[in-house]
């Protein structure tokens, strides 16, 4: 039997206090009797001369001391572990994702309890047990590998810090699967608050998920409406009580508006902020109610006040393409059938130039803007193959075909290309590609290898979606590919046509210059508004938010059901397989009832 806490031992000081109170209480009151004749006859054995002898015969005192001892015992949370810890190789997988920062009790987070449980577990292990410590979220960190040094293991556990990252232990378990190869005796102990499947691994899951009163600000978003900025925010109540509160809306750190909400348990609502009149960049919404998890009480977004992208369409006649492009309200389309008018530097100032057919190819290609070639050979960027007649093409999985992939359509003639290494194919033509896009020479280049008039693709609903995705990406000359990501996500930054490297400005003002291609920014652990300085006072912004999927509270049964056949799931608040606390509480109540009975009887 072990104990979760030792601090209740201080309560043993109550025992001398109670004894002193009894000594004080038992001051004899003078009581006159006619004669001691009868009392002497019967009370010789009951006479008590010293206080200690009085205490010896005082049933109530003895019962109260027993009550204190049982209470202390109960508060120390005794438990016995039922799992077999005699394994020679133990992996401790500690979830340090954002949800583990939820307060469990006594102002201590789930992670604090998890680390404590892990420490207690390590103390019980044999000295010959090799311990591996892994911290996991959507980023897996191996802190210690196969160590026999318990002090080092405890130190590694102590070094685990809470993060605002999303995710669970899947990455860590994948690592464990690798470690378990050829090591049948390895046991995995997972400390988490999310449903986790050990799969073929053997081990224990300590579940730290517990009911908590928590609100999450799922997202905040803004849009221009009649020249005024409209902001919406989504709030979800993950607790079991109805909640009423306020959301504060800030624009560039100045309070813009406050709005109220009322939410039943488990309910979500959208809160509107109309016509804020804000013309800045960073919008922050914040719940002004403290709850179990503070990370999800704040959300950021970047005001969508940027200018429209300018697209130049060089085509003789392509109504399908024109209508599909015009569906994008953030795009300003210019159409011409005279390629020489926009030859060379004449096309500068456009974000994207679409050249529809070989006859629309200008003598000099624009130097800076992005380009999409439709069945024409620019003579550079990529190599074309021989034409293929009457072939079925397929929409491939790619960022441009999300949700519409695996669709085949026929064309009468296609000019495929060998896929350049810088491009990502989105239309396949057998083992070649008939549509691709990617970064090349500091700008984005796209290619569609068939005339849109020679296919029925424009008649399908997938066509405008494909064009929307292409234009949204290539019709934007901004370096940032998105204005919002979650903590821990990687941000891809478009490269510039000039040689200047952008600088990231963190929410706390720290600056970091990006110095290698491709431009990827990974240090997004902290939520807030980040700035991307491109030089020449050109600054873009993006928001990093806490992923509110971490705000979900899972039931013990959900965790137990997902654990797998080889896993033992333990309600880890007591960090024990079998806690004696309920039994002791019952015993305590019985003792108190007995004390009451004795009190009444006496």
């Amino acid at each position: 039997m072990r104990f979760m806490h030792l601090w209740p031992l201080f309560l043993l000081l109550l025992i001398p206090a109670v004894i002193i109170m009894y000594l004080l209480k038992q001051k004899a009151v003078a009581h006159s009797v006619p004669s001691l004749f009868l009392w002497n006859e019967m009370y010789r054995n009951k006479e008590s001369d010293t206080p200690w002898e009085k205490l010896k015969k005082n049933k109530l005192l003895i019962i109260q001391i027993i009550t204190i001892l049982v209470l202390v015992f109960c508060l120390m949370s005794p438990y016995t572990s039922t799992e077999n810890e005699a394994s020679s190789n133990v992996v401790l997988l500690i979830d340090n994702s954002g949800s583990m920062s939820t307060e469990l009790s006594n102002n201590r987070s789930r992670l604090d309890y998890a680390k404590n449980a892990a420490r207690e577990l390590v103390k019980t292990l044999d000295d010959n047990t090799a311990v591996t410590v892994i911290a996991c979220s959507n980023r897996t960190t191996s802190l210690l590998s196969g160590s026999l040094d318990k002090a080092a293991v405890l130190s590694a556990i102590e070094s685990i810090k809470p993060t605002m990252l999303s995710g669970n232990c899947e990455g860590g378990l994948a690592l464990c699967n690798g470690l378990a190869a050829g090591n049948d005796s390895m046991k995995v102990t997972v400390f988490t608050d999310s449903p986790t499947s050990l799969g073929s691994l053997t081990g224990t899951i300590y579940n730290f998920s517990s009911p908590a009163e928590n609100l999450s600000l799922d997202y905040v978003s803004s849009a221009q409406k009649k020249g005024k900025l409209t902001v919406i925010a989504c709030v979800t109540n993950h607790g079991i009580k109805d909640v009423t509160g306020d959301i504060n809306l800030y624009g560039d750190n100045e309070l813009l508006d406050v709005s109220s909400y009322t939410l039943s348990a488990g309910e979500s609502t959208i809160v509107y902020f109309d016509e804020t009149g804000f013309e800045g960049t960073v919008i922050k919404a914040e719940l002004n109610t403290e709850d179990a998890l503070l990370y999800d009480n704040t959300a950021y977004c970047i005001s969508s006040t940027k200018k429209n992208g300018r697209v130049l369409l060089l085509t003789s006649r392509n109504i399908y393409l024109k209508k599909a492009i015009e569906l994008n309200a953030n795009i300003t389309l210019h159409e011409t059938n005279d390629p020489e008018t926009f030859s060379g530097e004449a096309a500068e100032g456009y974000d994207l130039c679409i050249i529809d057919g070989q006859d629309m190819l200008p003598e000099l290609l624009p130097q800076e803007c992005n380009l999409i070639f439709i069945q024409c050979d620019p003579g550079r960027f990529f190599e074309l193959s021989e034409d293929i007649e009457n072939i079925y093409l397929t929409l491939e999985d790619s960022p441009y075909t999300a949700g519409i992939s695996n669709y085949s359509f026929g064309v009468t003639s296609v000019t495929p290309a060998d896929q350049p290494i810088w491009a990502k194919s989105f239309i396949s033509a057998g083992n070649k590609t008939a549509g691709f896009a990617g970064d090349c020479e500091g700008r984005k280049i796209g290619y569609i290898g068939f005339d849109l008039h020679s296919t029925d693709l424009p008649l399908d609903y997938r066509f405008p979606i494909l064009i929307w995705n292409l234009i949204s990406d290539l019709g934007n000359s901004d370096l940032l590919t998105t204005s919002g990501i979650y903590c821990g996500d990687t941000l891809r930054i478009n490269s510039s046509t000039d040689d200047r490297m952008p600088t990231i400005i963190y929410p706390d003002g720290k600056k970091e210059a990006l110095n290698s291609l491709p431009l990827i920014f990974k240090d997004t652990d902290t939520p807030g508004a980040y700035l991307l300085d491109k030089g020449d006072n050109k600054i873009e912004a993006f928001a990093v938010n806490f992923d509110t999927s971490e705000s979900r509270i899972f039931s013990a049964s959900a965790v137990a059901n997902s654990a797998g056949d080889n896993a033992v799931v333990i309600d880890a608040q007591t960090a024990s397989a079998k806690s004696y606390r309920p039994l002791i509480i019952i015993l305590l109540l019985l003792i108190m009832a007995f004390e009451w009975f004795v009190y009444i009887k006496d």
């Binding site: 038992q26 001051k27 004899a28 009151v29 003078a30 009581h31 006159s32 009797v33 006619p34 004669s35 001691l36 004749f37 009868l38 009392w39 002497n40 006859e41 019967m42 009370y43 009951k46 006479e47 008590s48 001369d49 009085k54 015969k57 005082n58 009887k601 006496d602």
Partner: protein
Amino acid sequence: MVYDDTFNAEFYKSLSLFRMNLKMRLAAGANGGRKSNAKGSSVEFSDFREYLPGDDIRRIDWNAYARFDRLFVKLFMEEKEGLFRIYLDGSASMNYGEKSKTVLAKQIAAALSYCILDHSDRVILNFLKKNKCETFKGVTGKQGFSKITDNLSSMQPEGENDLLKSICSQDIKLRGMSIVISDFYTEHLEDVIKYLAHKKQEIFLIQILSPEELHPELTGTFSLIDSETGRSLKVTGSSSLEKDYASAKDRFLRNIESLCKKYGAKYILANTEDSYETVLRG
């Protein structure tokens, strides 16, 4: 004299209706109103016997001679005076109780005296105090009842008293009835009864206890102080203590009863909650 409310108007009102006959066998003593075993000269016929020379010829029943032709002499009852000694315990313990035990003791003594005087018998009051016996002058006739009440009123219990020592300090010469009114907190009660029996006394013990003694209610820790000796005893109240006390009290009362049975004494246990009439009518 200390003012005493024992004999108030209510007491006298109830006493006027109170009648009690104390039976006592008498063979000697002064002439009185109580029938004696001896034949005497009272007006009450008792028996006949044949005339013997020397008999008073005035007592010959001439009608019997006419019928039987033999001389018979009429015998009459001898009436003697009964002698009642009332011993009243004067120790401080008799002052105990919400209604003092002394009050009931005095009322019982007065009521008995009233009845005794009503039967033309003699009452001698004795006050047992500080191991001595204070004996008042014997009283006869109803007119002497006021003396009895005066004497009783003057009695104030105090201090320690040994019942045996105080009773034995009096030399009892005449046969009679000794009525002892006390709480009998003594280890020598048998010696007291023996002494009185030896002095040819009919013995009547009246034990007076208060409800506080019969059923004490003690919760907490107490220092019990003996009202006579001042000695103390510390006890902690509990249900088991009350049980032990009750069993000791029962043993004590049973012992007195068995002693009385053994020596042919009468015994009454009186509770101060009861009136003297209830006590004496049993």
